[in-house]
């Protein structure tokens, strides 16, 4: 063992500038350097046990914070589905309007919150991460046109239709008009083109 290494410790090699920045970060937090590094490594092991990298974990957290900021909440899906089921036949237009408005609002949030970057791609991620009923979400670009395909093996026709309405609200706000839309139980196919100014 090299001289000067305390018992039970090992030396690992890292870039010099990284050590400097770790030192600065530890100082800012008022934490001893060694404890700061050990905490980071322990959390990396924890993330690995969840089959994730630290980067994925941090990205996910940022994403969830964005959802909270955007006014999303977590609610029992069974209750939501029952309410939709009970209201759909008598108040379809009302439901359609609030889903469209919610989509429009969410689109505005994305535009305001994320400066630059690809808002459509980000919205695709939102659908994948927050819509747990969806098994597949795919945005495809062909020139300036965009097509979207969403698949769910469990979604009711009512929920599929309302999700399509929400997507339309978001995409319209992001500057796209809907040129085609098809909806059947658990499947959405939509095409968009940039809306003319």
């Amino acid at each position: 063992m090299p001289k000067g290494i305390p018992k039970g410790m090992k030396l690992i090699r890292v870039p010099e500038d990284l050590v400097t920045r770790l030192n600065e970060a530890a100082n800012l937090d008022g934490e001893p350097f060694l404890e700061y590094v050990i905490e980071a490594l322990e959390q990396a092991v924890r993330a690995h046990q969840m089959d994730r990298s630290i980067k994925q974990v941090v990205d996910f957290y940022e994403f969830m914070m964005m959802q909270k900021d955007a006014g999303l909440m977590i609610t029992p899906s069974e209750t939501l589905n029952k309410l939709i089921d009970k209201l759909y036949s008598s108040d379809k237009e009302f439901l359609q309007k609030i889903w469209l408005d919610a989509g429009g609002w969410y689109g505005k949030y994305l535009l305001a919150k994320v400066k630059g970057g690809d808002h459509v791609e980000l919205f695709g991620e939102v659908l994948k991460v927050t819509n747990w009923d969806l098994n597949d979400v795919e945005f495809k670009r062909e020139g300036s046109s965009i097509s979207l395909r969403c698949i769910s093996f469990t979604m009711s026709i009512e929920n599929t239709f309302l999700l399509m309405t929400f997507v339309e609200g978001v995409m319209n706000t992001l500057g796209y008009k809907t040129t085609n839309q098809e909806c059947m139980r658990g499947m959405i196919n939509m095409d968009f083109e940039p809306a003319k100014e």
Partner: protein, 192 residues
Amino acid sequence: MYPAVTAPKRKMLAAREDLADKISDIALRKGTLYDYLNETLEEAIRADSIGLSLKEAIDERGIVKVARDSGFTFVPERLWFDICEKAYERLGIRKMKSLWYETGQWYGTYYGDLDKLKDAMNKLIWDLSEFEVASKDGNLLVRCISPKFSESYSVLFSRFLEGALNALGYEFVDGDILKGVLNLRFKESKGG
């Protein structure tokens, strides 16, 4: 002539032996130890720079998984409150209260433990600014505050809690339900 390529300067970092070994094992499956450490520690600095601890980030991931596994879903809150108000108007108070009570019972049974229910409420119901459960003189006092709850939604949420706590062996005694503020008192059910 090619420009001289210089390798980045490296330094040695001391880490606990057991941890260094675990990290080595993980890194070997992903590439090199050097690259893995580089990425991990860079992310630690990035997380820190946005005011986040890695532990908090990993905990959050676990919470979201629990939410998903226990049948919760994401919904824009304005939409959720609008739909509840409409349903309140259409279906009437009795049906709505019964629906919330049943949902509460389901979650009470699912969590099966008061501490787990408390934990879930605090972590999953983002709209709650306060959720406290305390035992006093043989009673269970529940205090819950959400500035976003409407008057009718406050009533529904109290029924949700009543259902959940009934499933855990407590019966409702009395309470105050105001817009966004709930103070409820329960006692242990006989034979519960």
